[in-house]
């Protein structure tokens, strides 16, 4: 029996399976993530790390099992409430997913516009997060004119702009040089330190070793240890 009112957990997964046709991407995943937890999901390429994150923000739907996010049962959520669910998350995608035709400022502002925030607030907030990631001077640049590290900083800025409860980061340091990777990691750590829940999918062992936080290890879609 699922307790939808469990206040200590922010995310709960019960016997979750995900299939793509006959291919099993995730098999019987059970997970309980507490508020303000810093969790790593690790495993080799193709283990199901990105799929697991996608299930949380309904980028994909589960084939079997149930997921609760802050008491919202994702199997029962109506189409209209999906945007509300997604606003609980700040998502950092592996390929950044910045809109190439929009400036750095507009890419970040989009999250706040979608939330219906006022123009003045958006202006203030975007400038503030740009300062945090050290990109305030590049506010008018288009994403393709930025380096990989800079694009990742913008992706982090966009993820935190909407003051989400949870950040999902898919390989946030994967393609970055060590200096940029450290900077991004510090930014994410800062979010966690301010009370946010952080879930990072990575196979960067160095990053995991540095923190000593809980690690979920996936192999061929199965959860092999915690």
């Amino acid at each position: 029996m699922i307790d939808e009112n469990d206040k200590s957990s922010i995310i709960r997964m019960f016997h979750v399976h995900k299939n793509y046709g006959s291919k099993k991407a995730l098999i019987d995943i059970n997970l309980d993530i507490s508020k303000n937890e810093f969790l790593f999901i690790t495993g080799p390429s193709g283990a199901g790390k990105s799929t697991l994150l996608k299930l949380l923000y309904l980028g994909e739907s589960v084939s079997e099992g149930q997921i609760l996010v802050e008491g919202m049962n994702l199997s029962r959520i109506s189409r209209r409430r999906v945007p509300l669910l997604r606003r609980k998350f700040g998502i950092i995608f592996q390929d950044y997913k910045l809109i190439p035709t929009k400036t750095v400022f507009d890419n970040i502002a989009l999250v706040l516009e979608a939330m219906g925030k006022k123009r003045q607030f958006i202006q203030k907030k975007v400038n503030s997060v740009l300062r945090t990631v050290g990109m305030e001077k590049r506010f008018n640049a288009l994403p393709q004119s930025l380096s990989g590290g800079e694009q990742q900083k913008i992706a982090v800025a966009r993820a935190v702009a909407g003051s989400p409860r949870i950040i999902l980061a898919d390989e946030p340091t994967g393609s970055l040089d060590p200096e940029s990777a450290d900077f991004i990691f510090d930014l994410l750590n800062g979010f966690h330190a301010r009370g946010g829940t952080l879930i990072i999918a990575t196979h960067d062992k160095e990053l995991i070793r540095k923190t000593g936080n809980r690690v979920i290890h996936l192999k061929s879609g199965r959860q092999i240890k915690q």
């Binding site: 980028g59 997604r86 998502i91 997913k97 809109i99 979608a114 966009r158 909407g162």
Partner: protein, 292 residues
């Protein structure tokens, strides 16, 4: 709303070529539809004025005494639906016809006697006399023994009305077809725009944008396309109308053919229909795309 409007205008500017093509295509459809409307409005006006001017000509048998002519006139005057009766003597008729055919005056010079009969011009009260009523009145007049024959233009007007009605129905059908064509053209353009921006739309959804947040700028874009297409189509028709009507004024007597442009109300209705086509096109495309 201002934010959505700005985003729509920015999208139009970004996808300039596609939008210009759509606006031109809508304007062509509107040009065709409004040309039909212009034709029907003017043809309708003519029909009305012709019907108002319908009269029956009753030709008298030859050599009737003047007193009898007065009696017959009074008799006709007494019929219901008759407004007035004018007597046209054969001399007056000859004078009129000679004036009208000045260039062929030699034709009349060789005549030994006036072949035209005396006649009455019977004007009808009310403008909406039906074909049947007119026919009955003509029969009543013809039944007077001194009347040789009657003539009235209602028969050909009746035929003209039937042809006109057929044209009108064809016009409605064509307007409907062009409206549907415009809707699908807009739908296809918006679909192209949506596909070219599918990644952007996907990102917007992932960061928590609602469907209405994504759709509204597209709807505004469709309405702008429709409005601009409608205005452009009507403006083109107006230019063509000015050119044609000035030529007609030079070529023909202005009383014979006076055409007028669509009223402001009609123009606004056409532009609104054009905007509706734009909106509907967006609606169809977005519904298909966002269902996925």
């Amino acid at each position: 709303m201002i934010l959505f409007f700005k985003r729509a205008v920015r999208d139009i500017r970004t996808n300039r070529f596609l939008n210009v093509v759509t606006i031109i295509t809508i304007s062509l459809s509107i040009l065709i539809v409004s040309s039909l409307a212009l034709f029907f409005v003017n043809a309708g006006n003519y029909m009305g004025s012709w019907q108002k001017g319908i009269r029956i000509i009753a030709y008298l048998k030859p050599d009737l005494p003047e007193a009898e002519i007065v009696d017959i006139k009074n008799k006709i005057q007494g019929f219901q639906t008759v407004a007035s009766v004018d007597f046209i003597s054969k001399q007056e008729a000859m004078k009129k016809i000679s004036e009208q055919m000045k260039q062929q005056s030699s034709l009349f010079e060789d005549l030994k006697e006036n072949p035209l009969p005396d006649a009455f011009e019977v004007y009808i009260s009310g403008s909406s006399l039906s074909n049947k009523q007119l026919e009955n009145l003509a029969k009543q007049i013809e039944s007077i023994p001194e009347i040789d024959s009657v003539e009235y233009g209602k028969k050909w007007i009746g035929r003209f009305v039937k042809v006109f009605e057929l044209f009108r129905l064809t016009g409605y059908a064509m307007s409907g077809i062009f409206f549907i064509a415009s809707v699908f053209i807009v739908a296809n353009t918006i679909r192209l725009v949506i596909y070219s921006r599918s990644e952007e739309i996907e990102i917007m959804r992932l960061v928590g944008a609602t469907d209405s947040f994504i759709k509204t700028p597209f709807y505004i874009q469709g309405l702008i396309q429709g409005a601009l297409g409608g205005i452009l189509g009507l403006a083109s028709l107006f230019v063509v109308f000015m050119l044609i009507s000035s030529n007609i004024k030079f070529g023909l007597s202005s009383d014979l053919l006076y055409i007028k442009f669509l009223s402001l109300k009609m123009s606004i209705i056409i532009i609104c229909c054009s905007m509706l086509a734009g909106w509907l096109g967006c609606f169809i495309s977005l519904r298909q795309f966002l269902k996925r």
